[in-house]
């Protein structure tokens, strides 16, 4: 009798639990499977990227923050990296002469070449002292509209499409400027004037659009 009561109780108790475990529909599980596959591919891609440096030589650069025996910490912008040196690490000065590890000082700018280990530290084979300011790429690409063109000097004002509140005062020694007109849309490569950061020098005009033609192509309908 008791076994009958127990079996009845068990059948009643387990019933809602089974009902709760609703199986997802075919479409849901297919979507989940696809998402899982995309996530797995992304993870694999990132892992490959992290793992690959151990087989392939890489270079990193920055300012020396700390020198501790065979370990050096360098920093560039928000990135901090650890360098591991050994007896075979070659160090080259700005004058292209060999240096000792003990010659390296905090504040020096270096380019380090080597292989990333599993801890993501660079096992450094070669260090070259550099001056980052001289290497920096100061070119800027501006896609915008000419709003003012000086009649007396080879200067024009360009407002970028990306930020209408911004404007660039651009000077050019090139003859190309004679062909420009106010209202024209252009893509230009410019560089900040080293003496006055508010002024820019024109390096090259990539593309111009006739001011009378349709300025912006209409976005494609999706």
């Amino acid at each position: 009798m008791f076994s009958l009561i127990i079996s009845l109780l068990l059948s009643v108790i387990t019933q809602p639990v089974i009902a709760n475990e609703a199986t997802p529909s075919a479409t849901d599980s297919q979507e989940i499977q696809e998402i899982r596959q995309v996530v797995q591919e992304k993870v694999k891609e990132k892992l490959d990227l992290i793992k690959s440096p151990s087989n392939k030589a890489k270079s990193i650069f920055g300012t020396i923050e700390k020198v501790e025996d065979k370990n050096i910490t360098i920093k560039w912008q928000d990135d901090t990296n650890q360098l591991i040196l050994d007896e075979e690490t070659t160090i080259i000065s700005l004058k292209r002469q060999k240096m000792k590890t003990s010659d390296l000082k905090v504040g020096q700018e270096i380019l380090a070449m080597g292989y990333f280990n599993q801890d993501n530290n660079l096992e450094t084979k070669r260090i070259v002292l550099i001056e980052i300011k001289k290497i920096e790429n100061n070119n800027q690409v501006v896609n915008g509209q000419i709003v003012d063109l000086s009649q007396s000097a080879p200067i024009f004002t360009l407002i970028p499409n990306s930020n209408k509140n911004n404007q660039y005062q651009i000077e050019s020694t090139s003859k190309e400027i004679k062909d420009l007109s106010s209202g024209q849309k252009i893509i230009a490569v410019i560089e900040a004037d080293p003496e006055n950061n508010n002024n820019f020098n024109l390096i090259k005009i990539i593309k111009t659009t006739d001011p009378t033609s349709s300025a912006t192509p209409t976005p494609e309908e999706e």
């Binding site: 270079s59 290497i135 990539i206």
Partner: protein, 142 residues
């Protein structure tokens, strides 16, 4: 007497569990119904997709921070079709338009040491994207 008590317990239990079970099953069905999507995984993928979209430039010929032994560097990659591509390195400026598949190629002559290369894409909708590559040209054995 004992029979009646046991029968009463069984009927009571059946009624009690039956009603509770029915109520729970109905409740579960109602809470499940209006929430088909999204799961947390879906949101994660959506965010990742937006990030990818914001970059818009995929360099296929070389990876950032690579060391090369040849000073002639070919940069090829993919972006939106019919976009303007501008690749700059100091005074070298290479510009091109991506083909209908969004592919592009450009060549640069590297200086010894670190080269900071900027790849800019302006798509037909005037959206601008930029990627910076740090490539070291060195013939020294690493």
């Amino acid at each position: 007497m004992l029979k009646e008590i046991i029968l009463a317990i069984i009927i009571g239990a059946l009624l009690g569990f039956g009603l509770t079970g029915g109520y729970l099953a109905l409740n579960k069905k109602n809470t499940d119904a209006p929430q088909p999507t999204p799961t947390p995984i879906l949101e994660e993928v959506k965010e990742e997709g937006n990030k990818e979209n914001s970059e818009k430039i995929n360099i296929t010929s070389i990876q950032d921070y690579d060391i090369v032994e040849d000073d002639n560097l070919e940069i090829s990659g993919e972006s939106s079709p019919d976009s303007t591509i501008i690749i700059t390195l100091d005074d070298q400026i290479v510009d091109d338009t991506t083909d209908d598949k969004g592919q592009f190629t450009g060549e640069l002559l590297l200086e010894s040491g670190l080269n900071i290369i900027k790849v800019t894409v302006i798509d037909p909708q005037d959206n601008q994207f930029e990627k910076t590559l740090h490539i070291t040209y060195s013939t020294a054995k690493i």
